[in-house]
């Protein structure tokens, strides 16, 4: 790849990679991650996929790994929820954004998302935030499209269950003065289909 070709690719994909990173960490860190990912692409023209979508997925994988490496190094001794630690150990970057920066009227969805496991969060974010389709999702996750679809489906179901529970919480607060019988929860569906306990949202760094 010559310099002009690279510059064209850079103009197309730098914003995509920056967006991916900026949705998960501070802006200045995101700029570094994006620059590093594109630097690797420049030096690894021999393995860069030929098609645009393939390159996009390839760069997101690189950015994902750089971000996870960076977070592992920075958060090594921090007190983190075991799910976050497991996610980082498996190379899943965590979202470091201040929840307050997330649109307030979607607080139920945001809260539910943060209560999911790191892998579920990542799958949903790649689709909802980064706009990946199933082919790109499977490339980033390193699995088949079928497996990606299944994982997405399960993650979405878990999110919905948590959102339902979250709305119930909001309703409970709104009807605090009502008789106890009016605020009975629907206990037929737990918050997590795996039957695991879901600890409180971990403290931020």
């Amino acid at each position: 790849m010559d310099e002009d070709q690279f510059a064209a690719m850079y103009a197309d994909l730098y914003p995509v990679v920056l967006g991916y990173a900026a949705r998960r960490t501070d802006w200045h860190v995101a700029e570094e991650i994006a620059a590093q990912a594109l630097t690797i692409a420049w030096h690894r023209g021999d393995v860069l996929p030929l098609d645009r979508d393939g390159r996009c997925a390839w760069l997101i994988v690189v950015a994902r790994n750089l971000l996870a490496n960076s977070q592992r190094a920075r958060l090594r001794a921090a007190h983190l929820d075991v799910r976050i630690r497991a996610g980082l150990a498996a190379g899943v970057p965590m979202v470091e954004l201040d929840p307050a920066s997330i649109v307030a009227d979607r607080i139920v969805a945001s809260t539910a998302m943060r209560r999911l496991g790191p892998r579920d969060q990542e799958i949903l974010q790649l689709v909802a935030w980064d706009g990946l389709d199933l082919t790109a999702l499977s490339r980033v996750l390193g699995c088949s499209s079928t497996a990606a679809a299944m994982r997405l489906h399960r993650a979405r179901r878990r999110l919905e269950l948590l959102m339902r529970a979250g709305r119930q919480d909001v309703d409970d607060v709104g009807t605090e003065a009502s008789p106890p019988g009016d605020t009975a929860r629907d206990t037929s569906s737990g918050p997590d289909t795996d039957g695991r306990d879901i600890p409180a949202v971990p403290p931020r760094r």
Partner: protein, 376 residues
């Protein structure tokens, strides 16, 4: 149906996106974007150094010396290129040494040097013996309330993508002091040269044991370290101890193989805690009850010490095989090796390859964070 699923997810999370497209639109034309592009294309897209990672397996199995040297040069060049190009600078004043993945240690029960297929022997008798030795260990007298640990580490840093990747190594000397409230002081000195044969020169006492110097001294508040709770592990009982170890390793998935988690947890406990013989005895007993843990026999570790090697059975599916090295004389953990078994793990080097090790060199209860020979 798949499109419907995508739409459904996007609808559910509509409005939660922290950085909309319009914020990053045109970012390549802004100052930071232009600067980054100029810096990138100013570096040569070195085709030779881009051809990595090379066949580490061939090198590890004792291929021709010239082949190894070439590979090491190529890997080193790539790692250096990556470090310079992407700015992974652990310590700007003293850049870390760069080397290939180190060769595996020579284990008695690994005949052909291929750890990935080594079956080993049942570990239960060895672990039971180690538990007995640990239970009878005479502890060194305490001179203070801080738990001090000195270790040499070799940390793998990879940058990856596509079907090949770049790799660099970061050797470092790490000193930690954990207080009774869980606050932690850590001194990390990166960049000590790691010899190409995968060994290192042990620093003379006192050279590293100085908590007031070092490339990076970090202080973490109360509750940051689990070291104060380690002593209590001796009395919780085997089931609770096993559960605690699994939780410490972050193993929360229901169907996750336990053995790799247990070994990782043991390694983590020793990161910043002075582990008493009674705790070691309890831990070795828990491991002895797990039939998926095997021994690879005797080995000489990277600091030249005799040890017994314990790891997961070959049929335990995990991308990385953790190997604990235990001093048979004291039953104390002296080192941890990590061997990559599957390239699916995304480390970007050919498997099998040693992707990290820790050598625990010194641990003691001290009075202040100056170390053992630095003035206490």
């Amino acid at each position: 149906m798949n499109d419907a699923e995508l739409l459904r997810v996007r609808r559910l999370l509509d409005g939660t996106k922290p950085v909309p497209e319009r914020v990053v639109e045109g970012s390549h034309e802004r100052a930071a974007g232009r600067r980054a592009l100029a810096q990138i294309v100013a570096t040569a897209p070195d085709a030779a150094s881009a051809r990595i990672p090379g066949d580490v397996r061939a090198a590890a199995r004792g291929g021709a010396a010239r082949y190894r040297t070439q590979r090491r040069v190529a890997l080193g060049a790539m790692a250096a290129c990556v470090l310079v190009a992407i700015g992974i600078v652990v310590n700007p004043a003293a850049p870390p040494a760069v080397a290939t993945t180190p060769p595996p240690l020579r284990y008695d029960l690994v005949a052909d040097g291929d750890i990935s297929s080594a079956v080993g022997d049942a570990a239960a008798p060895v672990l039971t013996r180690l538990a007995t030795v640990a239970a009878g260990r005479v502890e060194a007298p305490r001179s203070g309330d801080l738990q001090y640990v000195r270790s040499e580490r070799w940390t793998f840093v990879s940058v990856q993508g596509g079907d090949e990747s770049g790799a660099a190594v970061v050797p470092s000397a790490v000193l930690t002091w954990a207080a009774s409230d869980g606050s932690l002081r850590r001194s990390t000195r990166s960049g000590e040269p790691l010899l190409l044969n995968g060994t290192f020169a042990v620093s003379p006492d006192g050279q590293s044991a100085d908590g007031t110097r070092g490339d990076g001294i970090e202080q973490f508040g109360p509750g940051s370290s689990g070291a104060p709770g380690v002593a209590a592990l001796a009395s919780v009982g085997p089931d609770a101890l096993r559960s605690t170890l699994l939780e410490r390793a972050g193993c929360v998935a229901p169907n996750q193989p336990a053995a790799p988690c247990l070994l990782d947890a043991v390694a983590r406990i020793h990161d910043d805690a002075v582990v008493a013989g009674k705790v070691d005895a309890a831990v070795w007993s828990v491991l002895a009850a797990d039939p998926t843990i095997v021994t690879l026999g005797r080995v000489t570790d990277r600091a030249g010490r005799d040890a017994v090697a314990l790891t997961t059975a070959v049929d335990v599916k995990a991308p990385v095989r953790t190997i604990l090295l235990i001093d048979p004389g004291t039953a104390a953990l002296v080192g941890v090796e990590q061997v990559l078994l599957s390239e699916d793990a995304g480390y970007g080097v050919a498997a099998p390859a040693v992707i990290g090790f820790v050598a625990f060199l010194e641990e003691a209860w001290v009075a202040d964070p100056v170390g053992l020979s630095g003035g206490t």
